[in-house]
Amino acid sequence: EDQVTQSPEALRLQEGESSSLNCSYTVSGLRGLFWYRQDPGKGPEFLFTLYSAGEEKEKERLKATLTKKESFLHITAPKPEDSATYLCAVQAASSASKIIFGSGTRLSIRP
């Protein structure tokens, strides 16, 4: 069964303290892996798509990487405005249009 697991569930960092969020997946053929940011009371905001192992994408203080079993979202020198829940989702090769979400990592950055 296709599955996505994110860790940790919650992470509290000091401003400027870099760290990584993990997304482990089990899927029968990966078509794409997606990262989203979700602020409280709002819809998820698309961040990145990764297609194949070894691929990396960057946006401001965020960098996403992908291996055959997991993806990391690296946050470099975070600021309080980076506080949000980060969701990972995968699309299986067998799925025409559906994606499977992990339950997210709730990130809190203290000033």
């Binding site: 078509r31 794409g32 709002k42 819809g43 998820p44 297609y51 025409a96 249009s97 709730r106």
Partner: protein
């Protein structure tokens, strides 16, 4: 800017009173989705439309229905809301292709009294 719009942003209804949530998009995407999200949980797919083709998830209760009258609009009808249906309802769209990122609206927060 191309976007996904949901109305209303907040909806309060009474137990058992039917409610309709709406979603519109200016992205001209073929696929539209409805998700239910409860606090600290992942979004749960209820159903999606691939053009006019309706695809229901096996575990979506019969209480939830959907309509897509045209490419731009999609509606979620909850026929008899229960207390357990209180949640954030998210609409998303995606284009057709090998890699179809989904783009989400701001959500509708449903409260059932």
């Amino acid at each position: 800017d191309a976007m996904v719009i949901q109305n209303p942003r907040y909806q309060v209804t009474q137990f058992g009173k039917p409610v309709t949530l709406s979603c519109s998009q200016t992205l001209n995407h073929n696929v539209m989705y409805w998700y239910q999200q409860k606090s600290s949980q992942a979004p749960k797919l209820l159903f999606h439309y691939y053009d006019k083709d309706f695809n229901n998830e096996a575990d979506t209760p019969d209480n939830f229905q959907s309509r897509r009258p045209n490419t731009s609009f999609c509606f979620l009808d909850i026929r008899s809301p229960g207390l357990g249906d209180a949640a954030m309802y998210l609409c998303a769209t995606s284009g057709i292709g090998s890699y179809n990122e989904q783009f989400f609206g701001p959500g509708t927060r449903l409260t059932v009294l």
